[in-house]
């Protein structure tokens, strides 16, 4: 302890702010300005346009459905990140592959007459399309892990990320080569066509939307159960904390990583088919934007955090659906809103809304 140097930095600190503190204050001011501008704009638009309540309800329902699809994809990002601290940027393409598997299943079922057959046949069509999507996505996901990520496991974190981007393009152009550039129309089975009006409120709920939301929730509950209650889930959580110690407990690390990819891909495959039902078309590049949106949702909720991915997805879906109307912008701007949210989250709250995990040793 030198008594000479001790007081000097202390007095410095009490009068001058560190550069980190200064930039935080600066950011907060910018944040407040952005917030005020947004609120002002929303107020003006609300007064100006005065949309009826049915319109808002319609948008919220739309947002919830979209959010349900996003969360199925976002969970894949978050599961893999939780264990490997790596963003699997090819995840959107894994979903797209599942979407195509669903498309071909629907074609097949349609040619058999099941798609618009009895309610049972039609329901079976939906089931098989989703099952096929899940299977193909799982195969794509675990192949990807094996070929593109596992050989790079010891490498610096940027390396598998670049590999993932490469894999993303590879899968996109493989789909382009296999299926062509034309949009493929999804044959919607009769059981999820149409919808109902809620009383005489004028609010309309499509069966497709309701199905996507409910099936999405069920799949997520299944995932939650696996992660929280099963032996595999316990091993996954142990691996997320410390891979070497997990191996010392007799956990086959490679196997658990493959199963993690499989779980995430299965959800993405189901999400791909649901997205097909929702958008009614599937194309080779269909996975790209929803993949980025789901990534945004995962970051918004706090990446690596399962609850965060679900919450972030629903929130993003609703914000994206409401945003254009609330801000008085054309609906084509919804992507701008989603990615602005990504930038704002990364700048103002990089750990996401529910993410406290990152601050430990993951960051």
């Amino acid at each position: 302890m030198t008594s000479v140097s001790e007081p000097a930095p202390k007095s410095n600190r009490s009068f001058n702010l560190t550069s980190a503190q200064r930039s935080r204050i600066f950011l907060n001011i910018i944040g407040i300005v952005i917030l005020v501008l947004l609120v002002w704009r929303i107020y003006i638009v609300a007064v100006d346009r005065a949309y009826p309540i049915q319109y808002w309800a319609f948008q919220v329902i739309n947002g919830l459905v979209l959010g349900g699809v996003y969360s199925l994809i976002a969970l894949g990002y978050t599961l893999v990140y939780g264990i490997l601290f790596m963003i699997n940027f090819a995840h959107g393409e894994v979903m797209m592959m599942g979407g195509f598997a669903g498309f071909f299943t629907l074609q097949l079922m349609n040619s058999l007459g099941w798609s618009d057959g009895t309610p049972l046949q039609s329901a079976a069509t939906v089931f098989f399309a989703i099952l096929a999507g899940m299977i193909v996505s799982v195969l794509t996901g675990i192949t990807l892990e094996r070929l593109a990520y596992r050989p790079l496991r010891g490498a610096p974190r940027l390396v598998p990320l670049i590999s993932a981007i490469g894999a993303s393009f590879f899968l996109q152009y493989t789909a382009l080569l296999l299926f062509g550039a034309i949009p493929h129309n999804y044959n919607k089975p009769s059981i999820i066509s149409g919808g109902i009006s809620v009383g005489d409120t004028g609010i309309f709920i499509s069966y497709t939307g309701a199905f996507i939301f409910v099936a999405g929730i069920l799949l997520m509950m299944g995932l939650f159960f696996i992660v929280q209650r099963t032996k595999l889930g316990r091993a996954m959580r142990a691996l997320a904390e410390d891979k070497e110690t997990a191996a010392l407990m007799g956990i086959d690390v490679d196997k658990v990583i493959v199963l993690t990819f499989a779980l995430g891909s299965a959800l993405a495959g189901a999400g791909g088919v649901m997205l097909g039902f929702h958008n009614t078309v599937m194309r080779f590049n269909t996975g790209f934007i929803p993949g980025l949106k789901a990534f945004t949702a995962a970051v918004l909720g706090g990446i690596g955090n399962i609850r965060g991915a679900m919450f972030g997805s629903i929130l993003l879906g609703v914000l994206e659906a409401l945003g254009p109307s609330a801000l008085g912008l054309p609906t084509e701007y919804k992507d701008v809103i989603a990615f602005s949210i990504l930038v704002l989250v990364l700048v103002f709250r990089p750990t996401g809304l529910l993410g406290e995990v990152l601050s430990e040793k993951k960051a």
Binding site: R234, A235, L248, G250, D252
Partner: protein
């Protein structure tokens, strides 16, 4: 009967030659301690035995079987479990989940239940806190958890990496009492320690490790009396 035979092992961290022809044996029922300064290669030795690191040369045999071709998790199946350096508990999992992971590869539910009872009676504190997230435990409790977790594998050989590190002297005493107790019940122990004083009291035999090589090997009693050990590791002039 030799349970563990490490023969002329060379282990590298990249280009760093960490173990330079290390050999040691551990007989069934023994407590053997490996003492040495920071960076001597104590942890590296344990990581090599447990299969996390693979030796470039030499062999590790457990129960007359060469472990070279087995991966870390498979070596656990053989009956080797580890209390890792810095305890390595899973801080976001509960105490119960941590212990249960120790028995990850086992499917004899009755045996696992028995071992839970055994661990809980050895460490009643863990039973009280079984539903608590392990990150909230004190250092001493975390050491109990790491030890209990290694016992849940029902190991024949238990590797312990510095169990006394960072603990208050009174807790150190109780940890060494526990080590003695575990050994009395039939588990062979290879104990790595910087606290040579305590380690040589509980162990039957000891090895002294210096910069990746064994420089001394004797019964614990003789090592306690050895001038070099006294000076370098027991702090006696």
């Amino acid at each position: 009967m030799a349970l563990l035979v490490v023969k002329d092992v060379h282990t590298y961290y990249g280009k760093i030659h960490a173990l330079k022809g290390l050999s040691l044996t551990v007989d069934e029922g023994e407590i053997v301690t490996l003492i040495g300064a920071n960076g001597a290669g104590k942890t590296t030795t344990l990581r090599t035995i447990s299969g996390v690191l693979k030796p470039r040369d030499g062999s590790v045999e457990f129960d007359n079987e060469d472990l070279a071709s087995f991966r870390a998790h498979e070596i656990v199946y053989k009956g080797v479990s580890m209390v890792p350096e810095g305890r390595g508990i899973f801080s976001r999992l509960t105490v119960f989940e941590n212990l249960d992971l120790g028995a990850y590869h086992r499917d004899d539910d009755d045996g696992i239940k028995q071992d839970f009872e055994k661990v809980y009676s050895l460490f009643p504190r863990l039973y009280e806190r079984r539903k608590q997230v392990a990150g909230t435990l004190s250092g001493g409790e975390q050491q109990m958890l790491a030890t209990g977790r290694a016992l849940m594998a029902r190991p024949r050989l238990m590797l312990m990496d510095e169990p006394s590190m960072g603990l208050a002297p009174i807790l150190v005493e109780s940890i060494f009492d526990t080590i003695h107790e575990i050994n009395q019940e039939g588990t062979t122990i290879l104990l790595v320690e910087q606290n040579a004083h305590m380690a040589l009291q509980v162990a039957h035999r000891g090895y002294v490790l210096q910069t990746g090589e064994i420089v001394l090997h004797d019964s614990a009693e003789s090592l306690r009396e050895n001038e070099m050990v006294k000076k370098a590791y027991l702090g006696m002039e």
